[in-house]
């Protein structure tokens, strides 16, 4: 995948307050088996990804935030475009890292989203704009 590709991450409604997404949204929970699910931003845009997630998949999402492949790789995370369970699915693999390191990475990814909101990464800015 290209380093600049934006990975779109859904944010649960309770994980957004006053326009801020928690770092918990960037850390795999128990059901994720160490792999964070995202949409490949080069195959689907933020609004379509949100519609797919909330209607086809039937899950809750307040909106979508974006991080780039290069930002994940800087955090020593493997990015896997597996296309399962849907074609645009990309997994961000945290399994090489323990809980303390995961916490650090989650905060870094959260900060990346905040910087995109300033428009430094146009595609992620679009992702933010649908909130």
């Amino acid at each position: 995948m290209k380093a600049a590709t934006v990975l779109l991450r859904q944010v649960h409604p309770t994980w957004m307050q006053d326009g801020v997404a928690t770092s918990l949204a960037f850390k795999p929970s128990k059901k994720d088996s160490g792999v964070l699910s995202t949409y490949n931003g080069s195959k689907i845009d933020a609004a379509a990804a949100w519609r797919h997630y909330t209607t086809k998949m039937g899950f809750g999402s307040h909106g979508v935030v974006g991080v780039s492949v290069s930002e994940c790789e800087e955090c020593e995370l493997k990015v896997i475009a597996d296309g399962i369970p849907y074609e645009e699915h990309v997994g961000i693999d945290f399994n090489a890292h323990g809980s303390s390191r995961r916490e650090k990475i989650a905060k870094k990814l959260q900060a990346s989203v905040a910087s995109h909101a300033d428009g430094t990464l146009s595609r992620a800015f679009l992702a933010r704009a649908i909130f």
């Binding site: 649960h12 309770t14 994980w15 307050q17 006053d18 801020v20 928690t22 770092s23 918990l24 929970s29 128990k30 059901k31 899950f59 809750g60 303390s100 916490e103 650090k104 905060k107 870094k108 959260q110 900060a111 905040a114």
Partner: protein
């Protein structure tokens, strides 16, 4: 006219320290007085089966009064004032008192409430005990046989549910946005943090301007706190608001408002994963923030964790700070990352103690979390 101690209810909970009783709680005792009077009449009728009603003027001059308040936490000493030469026997009031204690005992233990007090009198518990908050109780003791019962929010609800009343009222608090205000009928609607809507809330002159202002601020996300008397159905579902007592404009990051929203989460809230948060734990956390979190510190964003904890987050560039509050174990796991230098700080704080919260406040200040510094 004579008087002597009749009942010494013991009020427990944080509001009743130092032998003090908030004025709003005294209204509950007015309802107890009415209940005892009605039960005394009923006891008389039971003893006089041929009589359909008590003779006119039979109870004139009888009165229950708070003579003084003793410590422990607060014990109002209630006396029964009886007119001299009264035909009515004090015995019936004592039987009424025992019936109240037995009904409260039954409600507390899940026993048969109706065998102590007939259903038609249980509606008085809609007012007696209405001002009780979580963790508070009124302990009632029958002086003759030492029997005790604790009236709490839960046992009171059981008593009202056993009555003929179709609803239970309770003093409470709502957070939300006022999306509709009908000035002609002087009523408004509020959308709560969980998305549900409460309709037809009456507004009196005192709160008219505050409601109008909050309604105008709807577009900009203005949130309010409504304190008042809330009406619940017999299944515990919020139906309406009987009376608004105060209206307060809220900060978007108000801790109480946010925790109230998290209270609604059920098991599986995170798309099948995610534990609900302990209501008592959330009450505790709200109280600790109210008591200990300094006004000059930046308010945190608060989020539920899948494990049932509450995470507070502070973006204090270059620091990103998070504290996970285990609301059951009363422990705070702190983690801070300097996003520029990669420096990390980790700390576990005893959030159950005053000293722990002082440490927590210092930690936030140390990362530049003072309102003036932002």
């Amino acid at each position: 006219m004579g008087s002597e101690p009749f009942l010494k209810p013991r009020l427990t909970g944080p509001r009743f320290g130092e032998a003090e009783i908030p004025l709003e709680v005294l209204a509950d005792f007015a309802a107890l007085s009415e209940l005892l009077l009605e039960l005394a009449k009923w006891k008389w009728k039971e003893a006089n089966p041929g009589r359909r009603r008590v003779p006119k003027g039979f109870l004139d001059g009888f009165e229950l009064r708070v003579a003084k308040v003793e410590p422990g936490s607060a014990i109002p000493v209630i006396t029964l004032v009886a007119p001299s030469g009264s035909l009515f026997d004090r015995q019936y009031f004592e039987d009424a008192r025992l019936a109240v204690v037995e009904a409260v005992c039954a409600a507390e233990s899940g026993g048969a409430i109706g065998s102590a007090i007939p259903q038609q009198f249980l509606g008085y518990f809609d007012r007696f005990g209405r001002s009780l908050r979580e963790g508070e109780a009124i302990e009632l003791e029958d002086a003759r046989n030492g029997k005790k019962g604790r009236l709490t929010r839960e046992s009171r609800k059981a008593l009202v549910r056993a009555s003929t009343l179709p609803r239970v009222t309770e003093e409470g608090r709502l957070y939300g946005q006022i999306h509709e205000f009908d000035q002609r009928s002087r009523s408004f609607q509020i959308q709560l943090e969980n998305g549900s809507i409460v309709r037809g809330i009456p507004v009196d002159e005192t709160h008219y301007d505050a409601i109008l202002q909050a309604h105008t601020g709807y577009r900009t996300g203005q949130r309010v706190r409504i304190d008042g008397v809330l009406v619940y159905g017999r299944e515990g579902d919020l139906q309406s608001v009987e009376r608004v007592e105060s209206v307060t404009n809220m900060d978007t990051l108000d801790v109480g408002m946010r925790l109230d929203g998290l209270r609604q989460l059920k098991d599986g809230w995170l798309d099948g994963e995610g534990r609900s948060l302990s209501p008592a734990g959330l009450d505790w956390l709200e109280q600790m923030f109210e008591r200990h979190y300094p006004d000059d510190c930046v308010s945190p964003h608060l989020f539920p964790t899948p494990e049932g904890a509450v995470r507070g987050e502070w973006q204090l560039a270059p620091w990103s700070v998070s504290i996970d509050f285990d609301v059951v174990a009363k422990k705070a796991d702190c983690h801070a990352l300097n996003l520029e230098s990669d420096e990390e700080v980790e700390k576990v704080i005893d959030a159950g103690s005053d000293a722990g919260w002082a440490e927590l406040a210092e930690l936030i200040r140390g990362f530049g979390g003072m309102e003036v510094s932002r």
